[in-house]
């Protein structure tokens, strides 16, 4: 195996690792954004329903 092939192999591994890390941070960012939207819609719904939302006659 030539020196060049070893170097190319190393580069590919580094590239794969970099892609994996990039994908991971992207997944985390999407998860956080979705969580933020869930909280946002929950809070806005409570606000729109008003303070009497839990005050229901039995």
């Amino acid at each position: 195996m030539a020196v060049g092939d070893v170097m190319t192999g190393d580069n590919n591994e580094t590239q794969d690792e970099r892609d994996r890390l990039k994908q991971r941070s992207r997944s985390i960012a999407i998860a956080l954004a979705l969580l933020f939207l869930v909280v946002l819609f929950y809070v806005a719904t409570i606000v729109r329903l008003g303070p009497d939302v839990l005050n229901r006659p039995m």
């Binding site: 970099r18 990039k22 946002l40 819609f41 809070v43 806005a44 729109r48």
Partner: protein, 310 residues
């Protein structure tokens, strides 16, 4: 230089690095976004009626994200010309920090998300106006007008003028003469603001093949148009006083600053040679930012004070 040549230059010359959160933030044009947030806030505060503070924050956030989406989609479409312009060469796509596909996906997701959030959580008139703003900026200005006509920023300026209307609609659920006046002030402000910039950056625009007025019609015609639009702007900026939107402070500030604006526009018209011509154009460009900010800040102050007293 054709778009294809420029694109191949980007691909060959700049490696694609890992993008960071800050690159995506830069893609949203934060400085434009801050002006959009400010003018939308003025629209919300000046509007009659009230909105729950949580919903008001959500409305502002949606408008800001919508503006950011427009910026991202603009940078996606203009990556080729951004690379050859000194002012824009350091943006994330020409630098190879973000790929064009990433910018497109990011912009589309933010655009759809911001419109749906504003529509569902606040009201659909505001949501529809935000969709119109994004659509106008991306399709009408960026894709259609910018590379085709020197009137690009006159018509395209409407996109930047919509935010106070969106803010107003978020509170009232409608459009009224007051919000149209706020729209018109920014609409009339855009041409002298950008043409002043184009006067001292005309070589940049020429190199990128953008038909800005100084490139197509020459400096003399641009100076004449700056005068015309400055007069229209100052007249429009006095309208809030006559419809009860602006008070005494606004009347004084808009008159004084309007006079300074016209004086600077006249200087741009008279000083035509050498470095001084660039200097006076830059003065008008910088003052125009202060002018718009001051007008809206006074409106914000007057209405906030009135609400606080009541």
């Amino acid at each position: 230089m054709s778009g294809m040549q420029v694109n191949s230059r980007i691909e060959a010359g700049t490696p694609v690095f890992e993008s960071s959160l800050s690159d995506f933030f830069q893609l949203m044009k934060p400085r434009v976004m801050s002006l959009v947030i400010f003018t939308a806030l003025v629209g919300m505060v000046a509007a009659p009626g009230s909105l729950h503070p949580v919903l008001a924050v959500i409305a502002l956030l949606s408008i800001a994200v919508g503006a950011g989406a427009s910026g991202a989609l603009n940078m996606w479409f203009e990556a080729d010309i951004d690379a050859v312009m000194q002012r824009t060469a350091a943006r994330p796509i020409p630098r190879g920090r973000i790929t064009e596909d990433e910018a497109l996906s990011f912009g589309v997701v933010l655009a759809v998300g911001s419109v749906l959030t504003l529509g569902v959580l606040v009201n659909w008139v505001a949501g529809a106006l935000l969709a119109l703003t994004i659509g106008f900026y991306v399709f009408i200005y960026t894709m259609w007008l910018k590379r085709r006509t020197p009137q690009n920023i006159v018509i395209g300026g409407a996109a930047g003028a919509f935010p106070p209307m969106v803010g107003w609609a978020a509170v009232t659920g409608g459009v009224s003469i007051e919000s149209i006046v706020l729209f018109l002030i920014i609409f009339m402000w855009t041409p002298p603001h950008f043409w002043a910039l184009a006067l001292y950056r005309s070589r940049d625009y020429e190199r990128a093949g953008i038909p800005m007025l100084p490139v197509v019609a020459g400096d003399a015609e641009t100076r004449k148009q700056i005068i015309i639009y400055s007069v229209l702007l100052v007249a429009t900026a006095s309208a809030p006083v006559f419809i009860g939107l602006g008070g005494v402070t606004y009347a004084v500030v808009s008159t004084v600053l309007g006079a300074v604006f016209l004086w600077l526009a006249l200087r741009v018209w008279r000083v035509r040679d050498g470095r001084d011509s660039d200097r006076v154009a830059k003065q008008l460009f910088l003052f125009s930012i202060l002018y718009l900010f001051a007008l809206f800040a006074v409106l914000l102050g007057e209405h906030a004070l009135a609400a606080w007293i009541a």
